[in-house]
């Protein structure tokens, strides 16, 4: 594996700065036929909650111009099944970053504690899922609540805590500063933008949950802007995501200030896309005789 792409974030050694975003990559193993999982910086596995969740009813996805809306609703087997059945299967194959969500501050603390085990590289606090009523985003749109969730999680784990921010806020830097001062080791952004589609024949919303989260190429400029703003506002490393489909997209995020990037929706259309991005990124850097560190945050203003 190339030295040029190797990096380290919050003590997590990564062979490349390309990660897979939560909710788009299952538990990693679904992509084993297409991806050398060790070559990824990490897999942010599907969001885990204390109890199993069935997710939302009705239509859960619809394609939109240059993107898609989803309202899966955090379907997952619950933390117990994750720890007993899934983690042992995947822990030696990749950097496992566990995305967690709760409906109370205490939930995040308990999840952080339960996941403070061998095989978990870091936890990512999902305070930004727009598709469930009882949690997630209510913490992500209020700087005080976001800080409280962060400090509680920090109290119960020795793992690095990554906080995943919602773009559905007026000032992203306010939340970013707030979670940084509460002890966040790293900030990842963006989660999906809240959206909606209406069927003009039935006059009903396409999605079963009425609204959903917009992802894919359409959200990339919003994500680049927010990564740029947050990277200016905080000192902790930033993992950038939102609409990355190619190495060129990823390079924009690095220039904006991301130390690593995660690929999400693009995995659906091309399950090998993360490997292609890693290779193309390496070529970009090699042809300019640069290493990764030399482009991070180097946008010329």
């Amino acid at each position: 594996m190339s030295e040029r792409l190797k990096t380290e974030i919050c003590g997590i050694k990564m062979n490349t700065p390309i990660l897979a975003a939560s909710g788009t990559f299952g538990f990693g193993e679904e992509f084993a036929d297409f991806v050398d999982l060790e070559k990824l910086g990490g897999v942010m596995v599907k969001c885990i909650t204390l109890k199993p969740r069935a997710g939302n009813k009705g239509v859960r996805i619809t394609e939109t111009p240059a993107g898609m809306l989803n309202c899966i609703g955090l379907e997952n087997p619950g933390v117990e099944k994750f720890l007993i059945e899934i983690l042992p299967r995947i822990k030696n194959k990749m950097n496992v970053i566990v995305n967690i969500s709760g409906s109370s501050v205490e939930d995040y603390g308990e999840l952080a504690k339960l996941l403070n085990v061998d095989g978990v590289a870091a936890i990512e606090l999902n305070i930004s899922c727009p598709n469930v009523k009882d949690g997630g985003i209510i913490f992500g749109t209020n700087p005080k609540a976001a800080a409280e969730v962060t400090s509680t999680a920090k109290k119960f784990t020795s793992k690095p805590v990554i906080v995943k921010l919602s773009p559905n806020v007026t000032d992203i830097t306010e939340i970013a500063r707030s979670v940084e001062s509460a002890g966040a080791d790293c900030i990842s952004l963006i989660n999906t933008l809240m959206g909606m589609e209406i069927n003009i024949n039935t006059w009903k919303p396409t999605l079963g949950n009425i609204t959903g989260g917009l992802s894919g190429g359409a959200v990339k400029p919003v994500a680049v802007r927010m990564v740029y703003q947050v990277a200016q506002a905080v000192k902790v490393p930033v993992i950038g995501m939102g609409g990355i489909c190619t190495a060129a997209d990823a390079i924009e995020f690095f220039l904006a200030g991301a130390s690593a990037v995660a690929v999400g929706t693009a995995n659906f259309a091309n399950p090998a896309v993360t490997m292609e991005i890693a290779n193309d990124l390496e070529n970009y850097l090699a042809s300019r005789n640069l290493n990764l560190r030399e482009i991070i945050g180097q946008v010329k203003i």
């Binding site: 992509f31 859960r60 399950p271």
Partner: protein, 248 residues
Amino acid sequence: MLKIFDTEIISNAEVSANIFKLEVAAPELSQIAKAGQFVQVKVSDEFTLRRPLGIASAKNGMVKIFYRVIGKGTEILSTKKTGEHLNILGALGNGFDTNISGRILLVGGGMGLAPLLSVAEKIEADVLMGGKNKSEVDFWIKEFRAEVDRIYITTDDGSFGSLGFVTSLLPEVLEYDNYAAIYTCGPEIMMRSVYKIAEENNLPCYVSLERRMACGLGACLSCSIDTASGRKKVCKDGPIFEARAVFS
């Protein structure tokens, strides 16, 4: 092992109003594909997602797919010409059991006949097919003729075969032979009725389900369903399920 294949279009022609038959040269895919599996077709770079389509036939280095033009994706797919290349991910899903002993009755409605054709070319079977009218069953008859012994037909308007739905004719068809099982695909309401009749006749019944899906790999969870044995993903645990597990 799943793979992404670069295939060449051999033909892509309208066989009935808005229904297309697509044939691609895909030697490896045609060898590994099991009856009832599906593929994810990349229609165009302009789309974020692939389009899941059932495999209707996989033999002699060729893969055959039938699709109805219902949205922008299938509309663009319908304009593809012979010689153009198509990027296909497959083969996905579990597929029908083709090691079963005895004769199978295939019961299909409309586009649901596509996966059943892939069964017919592998094992001994008869087919009971239903469609809106003569034009929507004619091309299926041509496809199935070489693969099955007997073809039973119903049309909604009575323009060909028996007037009515497949479920009206099914009890009668079951009297003609000792079928080992029923494999069915079509509108869900039809499959539920087929399942009911299968239960009454103590016949195993397997259904092929259809759901919206993004990845086809079991990652996006768009196609989750409840079954008698818990949550399942139509793309990975299915699309073939024992009817009892999903309809009772």
